[in-house]
Amino acid sequence: MNAASTWTTAELQAIILARELADGEVGIVGTASDVQVAACNLARAMHAPSLSWVSGPLGTVNADAGALLPTADARLIRHAEAVVDLSVMIDVIDWRPGFFDFAILGAMQVDRHGNLNTVVIGDHARPKVRGPGVIGTSPLAAFAKHFFVLLARHDRQNLVERVDFISAVGHYRGGSSRASELGLETEGPRLVVTPLAVLDFHPVTRSMQLRSVHPGVSVAEVVARTGFVLDVPPDVATTPPPTVRELAVLRRCVDRTGILRRGRSDTRSQRLGDRPARPMSAGTTHTRTKPCRT
């Protein structure tokens, strides 16, 4: 496979996630989700043409503007195949178990067992840091058939032994506790994609373990920057770098205005994972998407 030479952390994360999305699946993407949208549309362009993804806020299905737009921007409607109002979508977002195949969720804190926290650091009554809140992450973590965790940082502050507040449940207390104590039949968190590495969960203990380190990152660095004792299998792979083709499709068909490309692309800033800021008016001038050729 022909590896590309430079990419940003956001591009790499989108490509890693895209590879994990299977044809025919139905997924949901929340608010502020450039990397998630890129992953879905890249998967559709590459190997999963029958995948469907829904914008949580707008209810658009398979919105594909050729450029990344905020998931609550009305322009998505013109590039979608369906729009289902939120007051209808909440039936399957907030109630129905197993409707979505996957969700891609972010968090302020993730713990050893993949539980998520977007609410508070510290005590809820007098928090040290007050976060944004739960929104739809709690039912999606419980009821999507599996979910992915996407982090914009990898450090001892956001990868912790135990989250201060469970806002969306992962493998709960580890082992089979998710099913036995909470009665949840879905898989739970499958992968955690950070700026440094891809992590998954030990099949028995359901503790987070290192699956692969991104190109240019050492195992020692990942271990040092994780706030709990990370399981490190003997043969940790390197995350397969983006192929020339993946990057070309991403840049030409999915993210033409370079939202994920913005920010410096030298190795160090890639590894620190500074997610580039998106201007909210980006991509406003493009016209209808042409069939994508690469």
């Binding site: 608010t31 502020a32 806020p57 707008l58 209810g59 905020p70 609550a72 921007d73 009305a74 409607i77 109002d85 939120l86 007051s87 909440i90 977002i93 907030d94 109630w95 178990p97 609410v119 809820h124 009554a125 007098r126 928090p127 040290k128 840091v129 007050r130 976060g131 944004p132 809140g133 739960v134 929104i135 739809g136 992450t137 709690s138 039912p139 973590a141 419980a142 009821f143 507040f165 469970i166 806002s167 969306a168 449940v169 709960y172 998710r178 104590e181 909470l182 009665g183 949840l184 997610r275 800021a277 998106r278 201007p279 909210m280 008016s281 406003t284």
Partner: protein, 319 residues
């Protein structure tokens, strides 16, 4: 009698034209257009107030600024996922309790006043998730004592036991009961409405229709008033029909600095400056002086000037 109606006709518009196929009506249909000040009188101190829109879009900011300017106190706020809408009211000292489902400035940072007042304990935060908010609003809309949701293992019932009440499990599934979240009034922003209160959302509807169904009064700000024949051309866009709407206020750019779907984008420069000001109480007071206490006319003028400056390439992000 319309349970949502509390105002008589005010600010008479043009003489009633013939609407639809009914021909000339025998009596005059009630108009719902009011001034910003009149609209604010529909929100009393201590009221439970819903806010529509979604984070950086369709937030009824002119109404929010007017409430802050009027010095409303002790409100219980029930915002849809929001940014400057809930944060500005919290920062102005109008809010004592907030149902928080999601309050954030996304990539621009945490909501500064919400954060500071939560961390100091000055603001009571009723922590909700999507199912909790949706169930509470549906219970209110449907007149039910509660709506059941699944218990999905979060810490929400621990910190908010009043709104997440255990129910007996069914078929091994753990359930919670969410009691009604009844809104005294909801503020929403739509792109256009007619003088009778048929309000159209030209892009996403978000939680606005559900919030309206759960509210005793529905106050809508619109970027423009249009004739009823314009409404009738695309009736499927009327997500808030006249019979739900208590009052309509014409506020051009009334969602600014959030965007109004299909009409204008979020003003990222303004939002960024707001977040920065909000992190320091003295700077925030200056923000309130400059943009809120001056009144809506002056606000619009400042925004126009800012946009012009941006076009000529000096500063700001607005195109």
């Amino acid at each position: 009698m319309n349970p949502h109606g509390t105002l008589g006709a005010r600010g008479a518009g043009p003489a009633a034209e013939s609407e639809g196929t009914v021909g000339r009506p025998l009596s005059v249909r009630r108009r719902k257009v009011v001034t910003l000040d009149d609209a604010v009188r529909l929100v009393e101190d201590g009221a439970t107030v819903g806010l529509g829109g979604w984070i950086f879009y369709n937030t009824p900011m002119a109404l929010v600024r007017a409430l802050a300017r009027a010095g409303r106190r002790d409100l219980t706020l029930v915002p849809a996922p929001g940014s400057i809408g809930p944060d500005l009211l919290i920062g102005a000292g109008s809010v004592s309790r907030v149902f928080c489902v999601f309050i954030t400035f996304e990539h621009l940072g945490f909501a500064p006043n919400f954060r500071r007042r939560s961390e100091s304990g000055a603001l009571q935060v009723l922590e909700m998730d999507g199912p909790g908010l949706a169930a509470g609003l549906r219970a209110a809309a449907d007149g039910l004592p509660y709506v059941p949701i699944f218990d999905v293992g979060t810490d929400l019932p621990r910190v908010n036991p009043e709104w997440y009440r255990p129910l007996p499990a069914v078929d091994g599934r753990r359930l919670l009961a969410v009691p009604p979240i009844r809104l005294d009034v909801v503020l929403v922003h739509a792109q256009q409405a007619d003088e009778y209160g048929n309000a159209q959302l030209l892009g996403g509807a978000f939680f606005d229709p559900l919030l309206a169904m759960a509210a005793r009064r529905v106050v809508v700000s619109v970027d423009r008033l249009v004739p009823t024949r314009t409404i009738r051309r695309v009736p499927e866009r009327t997500k808030l029909p006249s019979y739900l709407v208590t009052a309509v206020v014409e506020c051009p750019r009334g969602a600014h600095p959030t965007g109004s779907h299909t009409l204008y984008d979020p003003d990222e420069g303004h939002l960024r400056a707001y977040v920065e000001a909000g992190t320091r109480p003295d700077a925030y007071e200056k923000y309130l002086d400059r943009y809120v206490r001056v009144g809506e006319e002056r606000y619009r003028e400042l925004v126009r000037r800012g946009a012009r400056r941006a076009r000529t390439g000096c500063e700001g992000d607005e195109r």
